[in-house]
C-alpha cells in the first residue's frame, strides 16, 4: 500500500514538473506576437494575439463564417479565401477542396492558425451575419424524438433571412460538454416573423447539442445563436417543384412553403415527407393549412416502416421510392431536398436519372 501511494506521489510529482516545463515552453514557442487580420482589402482590419484559429478569431470580432460542425474540420463549410499569411495547406483541409479552390487559395478557416499578418477575402453577405441573444419561449415535443424549439430574439430583436437558411445554435458549457459548441439548425418558421424563430431538433444518441436541447434546455433560458447562413432557398421560376424532406429535414421546406403562401407564389409543387411510422409525422396541421393556401401544392407522406396500429394506406418504402413512382419526366422540374446524406445522395441520383439537371437540384445535407 505504501509503495503504491509513494509511486502515485512520485508519478504525480513528475507529471506536475513536466506540465510546468511544457507550460513554460508553450509561452515561449506559441507566442506569435500581435498579428494583423485584414479583410477584403482593408474593409475591416484588426490586430489579434497570434496563435489562434482564424474561424474563432473572426467570430470573436463579430464576423460569423458558416460552420456546421463548430470548427472541428469535419463539415468543410467555413471556407474563406486567404490571399496571404496562411502557411501551407493542411491534410485536414484538402479532402474538402476542389482543385480550383486549392489554386485560388481557399482554406478552411477552422484549420488555419494565425501566425503572422494575414489577408483574407470573404463574401460581403458574411458581414450581415450577426450574433443574436434569444430566449426560449417554448419547447414542444413534435414526435417522440423531435422537439420544436421556439426562440424569441432579444438583442438584436429582428432577424432577416431567406426561408431555407440555417442558424448556428450555441450549446454552452454543461455536464455533457466542457466548452461551448455550435451546431447548425434550419429555421422552420416563416421569414415574415422577424422577431422569433422555430427550430426542429432531433434527439441524437450521445449528441452534445441534442442531449442539451432534449435534457437540459428549459423554457425561459437564454441561448446565443448566429446566422443566417446557407444557399438553400427558393429560386424564382415557374418550374414544377419537388420537395423531399426526411425527419427534421422538413424544417427548411416548411419555411419555404410559408414564403410561397405569404408571397402568393402559386407554383405546382409536391412535398414528399419521409419518416418511419405515423407517430414520426409532425406539422401535419400546418401542412393542411398550407394546402388550403397553396392550391397547386400536393402532399405525400411516406412511411418506411408503418406499424400495424398506424392503419396506413398511403405511400410506403423509402421516400425516394415514392418519388420514383410519381416522376416520369423531370426535365422541367426543380428539386429541394433536405435530410440525411444517404437520402440526399439517393434522391440526387434518382432525379438526375429522371432528367432533372443538377443545377436545378438544391439541397441541405445534414452533416
Amino acid at each position: 500500500m505504501m509503495t503504491l501511494l509513494l509511486g502515485l506521489l512520485a508519478l504525480s510529482g513528475l507529471c506536475a514538473l513536466l506540465a510546468l516545463l511544457l507550460e513554460a515552453a508553450n509561452t515561449v514557442f506559441a507566442d506569435y506576437g500581435p498579428c494583423q487580420v485584414s479583410i477584403n482589402e482593408g474593409a475591416k482590419e484588426f490586430t489579434v494575439k497570434g496563435g489562434g484559429r482564424l474561424l474563432s478569431t473572426l467570430m470573436d470580432h463579430g464576423l460569423f463564417i458558416p460552420s456546421a460542425c463548430g470548427g472541428r474540420g469535419s463539415c468543410g463549410l467555413c471556407k474563406v479565401k486567404v490571399l496571404e499569411g496562411a502557411g501551407p495547406i493542411l491534410p485536414t483541409e484538402t479532402p474538402y477542396m476542389s482543385e480550383e479552390e486549392l489554386r485560388n487559395g481557399i482554406r478552411l478557416s477552422c484549420q488555419v492558425r494565425i501566425r503572422r499578418n494575414i489577408r483574407i477575402e470573404i463574401p460581403e453577405a458574411f458581414f450581415l451575419i450577426k450574433e443574436y441573444r434569444t430566449q426560449v419561449i417554448s419547447l414542444k415535443p413534435l414526435t417522440p424524438f423531435i422537439k420544436e424549439v421556439h426562440l424569441k430574439l432579444l438583442e438584436p430583436s429582428e432577424i432577416v433571412f431567406k426561408p431555407g437558411q440555417f442558424i448556428q445554435f450555441q450549446v454552452p458549457e454543461y455536464p455533457g460538454s466542457s466548452e461551448p459548441v455550435y451546431r447548425a439548425y434550419s429555421i422552420a418558421s416563416p421569414a415574415r416573423l422577424k422577431t422569433e424563430i422555430k427550430l426542429v431538433i432531433t434527439r441524437v444518441e450521445r449528441g452534445i447539442a441534442t442531449t442539451y436541447v432534449h435534457n437540459f434546455l428549459k423554457e425561459g433560458d437564454e441561448v446565443l445563436i448566429n446566422g443566417p447562413y446557407g444557399d438553400f432557398y427558393l429560386r424564382h421560376s415557374d418550374r414544377y417543384m419537388i420537395m423531399i424532406g426526411t425527419g427534421s429535414g422538413l424544417a427548411p421546406l416548411m419555411s419555404i412553403l410559408y414564403q410561397m403562401a405569404d408571397e402568393h407564389i402559386d407554383r405546382p409543387c409536391t412535398l414528399y415527407f419521409g419518416v418511419k411510422s405515423r407517430k414520426d409525422l409532425f406539422y401535419q396541421d400546418e401542412i393542411q393549412e398550407l394546402l388550403q393556401k397553396l392550391p397547386r401544392l400536393r402532399y405525400v407522406p411516406v412511411l418506411s416502416d408503418p406499424l400495424p396500429e398506424d392503419h396506413w394506406d398511403g405511400e410506403t418504402g423509402y421516400v425516394t421510392d415514392a418519388v420514383a413512382r410519381d416522376v416520369t419526366d423531370g426535365s422541367q422540374m426543380e428539386a429541394y431536398l433536405c435530410g440525411n446524406p444517404l437520402m440526399i445522395n439517393a434522391a440526387v441520383k434518382l432525379l438526375t436519372a429522371k432528367g432533372v439537371t443538377e443545377d436545378r437540384i438544391f439541397f441541405d445535407k445534414f452533416g
Binding site: G7, L11, L14, F29, A30, G87, P91
Partner: protein, 197 residues
Amino acid sequence: MESSLSAPIIFFASIFTNNILLANFLGMCSFLAISRELPSAVGLGLAVTFVMTCTTALNYLVYHYLLVPFHLVHFRFIAFIIVIAAFVQLVEMVIDRYSPRLYVVLGVFLPLITVNCAILGVCLFMVIRKYNFVQSVAYGFGGGLGWMLAIAALAGIREKLKKAPIPKALEGPGISLIVAGLMALSFMAFSGMIQMG
C-alpha cells in the same frame, strides 16, 4: 555491474551493429509510413533523435534518482512514457513554430513519436544493460542516429523505386517491406562485431 563497453563503442554500435530499427525491429510503423520522401524522413529522423537523446538522459535521471531510491522501479514503464510524451509535445511545439512545412508533412506521425516503441525500447535497454549516464546518452543519441540512418536509407531507396518497374502486386507497402527486410539482412552482417548485451 555496469556495462564494460565505452561510450564511443556504444554510440557506434547503436548506429551500425545493433541498429534499433534493423536489429531489434522497433519503430517500424513510422519507418514505413514516413519513408516516401527523403526530406520528411530526415525531418522525422532528427525529431526522433532529439527525443531519444533527451528522453534517455532524463529517464536515466528519473530511474536512478526517483524510481530506484523509492523502490518504484516497477513503475518505470509509466514514468518513461510520461517523460517521452512530454518531450514529444515539446518537439511538436518547436517544429510547429520553426518549420510549419515539416509540421504539415509529419502530420499525425509527429505526436505518434510518443508511442514510437524504439524510444521506449532504448530507455528500457539502457536499464537492462546497466549503462551509466554517459553510456546511456551515447546509446540514446546513437540509437536515434541509427533510426534516422535506416529511415533515410529506406526513403532514398523508395525514391529510386518510384522509377523502377515493380510488379503491380508488390507496389507500395509490399516492396517497402521487402526492401526493409533486405536492409535488416545486410545490417545483420555487422551484428557479431560488438556484443551489446
